[in-house]
Assembly symmetry: C2
Homo-oligomer: 292 residues x 2
């Protein structure tokens, strides 16, 4: 592929930083500009070789830029787009790494009305409970799924070029509609995060929290790993995707109500059947049965 000249990363943390490092490792970018709300974070990203220069305003950042990656928590998307829009030329492509897509696309239609052909939304599935530039790595996206939700207004060449950039990180590209994206990740990502935060929070509030944590073991540790995730990022995801997430939560609550009934009846046979089906499904998943 043709290397990029200048690209801009807004939010040079785990997600944006790893995108930059992946392209740099393959010699596919000449210069990476970092921009974001926290100057100290950009300075650390620069010291780590994630970005080459720091921009403090969008006019400077976008000057001659071929591609912009928006890699902030989704709650900041609208404000950043509004700030960018007056300085965005017709030849600069924009993609994002937002964990939700319907709200990001709403913001695109609001703030980038006259640029719809060059904005190609994306979501790399590579979260981690660590965040910040120190967590970024060139191989973060290798073999990870990257979902693209192109807009009907996108120029085919814009989509192809953005696709090339994401593919260069080593990820596997998948197209979805934004609605489908938000429902799928509501179920397999956002809901589990909410459930893990809820359990840790509920235990931490108890009078005997110290004793309870004292006897928590490896099962608890893994179950709650995602409760060490970035609170602001997950606030934004939950609020942005709250309609799909509420539907998922309600489905799960129905499942729990059924399990509660089995428990209170002491119905061991039905519980064992449920546990078997869950274990078998999970083991089939781990064995790659559902890989696309």
């Amino acid at each position: 592929m043709t290397p990029f000249g200048r690209i801009v990363i807004c939010g040079a943390g785990l997600i944006g930083g790893s995108f930059s490092l992946a392209l740099k490792a393959k010699g596919l970018v000449r210069e990476v500009v970092g921009i974001g709300r926290t100057h100290s974070s950009l300075e650390r990203a620069q010291a780590l070789g994630i970005i080459d220069v720091i921009a403090t305003d969008w006019a400077t950042a976008l000057d001659g830029a071929e591609l912009v990656l928006l890699a902030m928590p989704v709650g900041q998307m609208a404000a950043v787009m509004q700030a960018m829009a007056p300085h965005l030329g017709p030849d600069t492509l924009v993609t994002d790494a937002g964990s939700t897509k319907r709200d990001v696309i709403e913001a695109i239609y609001t703030h980038f009305k006259s640029h719809l052909e060059q904005i190609v939304p994306a979501h790399p599935i590579a979260g981690a409970e660590k965040s910040g530039p120190e967590a970024a790595r060139a191989d973060l996206y290798v073999s990870r799924k990257i979902v693209l939700t192109p807009l009907p207004e996108n120029r085919p060449e814009s989509v192809a070029r953005v696709r090339e950039a994401w593919a260069a990180t080593g990820g596997q590209l998948h197209d979805m509609s934004p609605q489908e994206h938000d429902r799928v990740f509501g179920a397999v990502s956002h809901l589990p995060h909410l459930l893990a935060f809820a359990l840790v929070h509920e235990i931490a509030e108890r009078a005997n929290a110290e004793q309870l944590f004292g006897f928590a073991a490896s099962g608890f540790r893994d179950f709650t790993r995602i409760a060490s995730s970035h609170p602001e990022m997950w606030r934004d995801i939950c609020v942005a995707n709250r309609h799909a997430l509420l539907a998922e939560l309600d489905t799960y609550l129905t499942e729990l109500a059924w399990i509660r009934a089995l428990l209170s009846q002491g119905d061991g046979d039905s519980l064992e059947k449920l546990f078997c089906e869950a274990r078998d499904a999970r083991d089939a998943w781990l064995a790659g049965k559902f890989d696309s």
Copy 2:
């Protein structure tokens, strides 16, 4: 410590097998007898050096035995105790590895009435989603917590000797009442298992399960690791501890109802505060703040 002559392991899988391997590795036992309901499993345990001989009846197994470890799923405890009791001499100590304690102790009072001084209940906190003799290892219990719930009727020398055996595995011993044990593990172990089984089961039942599993990533993998646990063992735990577990489930459902309200109101500030508190509590736990 004085080595044991003959010990009996009932259920030579992960838990019983690791106990045997730990004592053998330190030269603290002369002969290990295996007994259990599945002969093929005992044969594999013998081939792996976990047990030395296989007994097919309790009279033979208990002949000259100094210590018996009951390491089956808790649902089998009562039936095994009933079969053992007529052959149990006054000099054979008994301990168990049951994940719940109130029900095991009820079975002890029912079937071992005339042996209460020599039965010392225990629970090593060393579950894993793997089971069977192949999963057993000599170091499974190193630095793991092992809870003892001695009976008021226990002879002090019985407790001291059983304590020695468990301590020899490398675990850290803690005493608790059976009620306290079942409440604590209902909260930090049994409930998370139930929640993980529930989520995987609920997703596996959907028409688009294949798509959902196809996009599930590392967060989902860790959150649901314990849903690959032994279904029968977890059926028994859930049924045995259902009163404490129902109370824990209801507390959790109250937390979810509150979070549901925050979500439907789009109250990002309260969600972020909750996520922060959960993350901080978990990080403090990982940092060892709650170690006893």
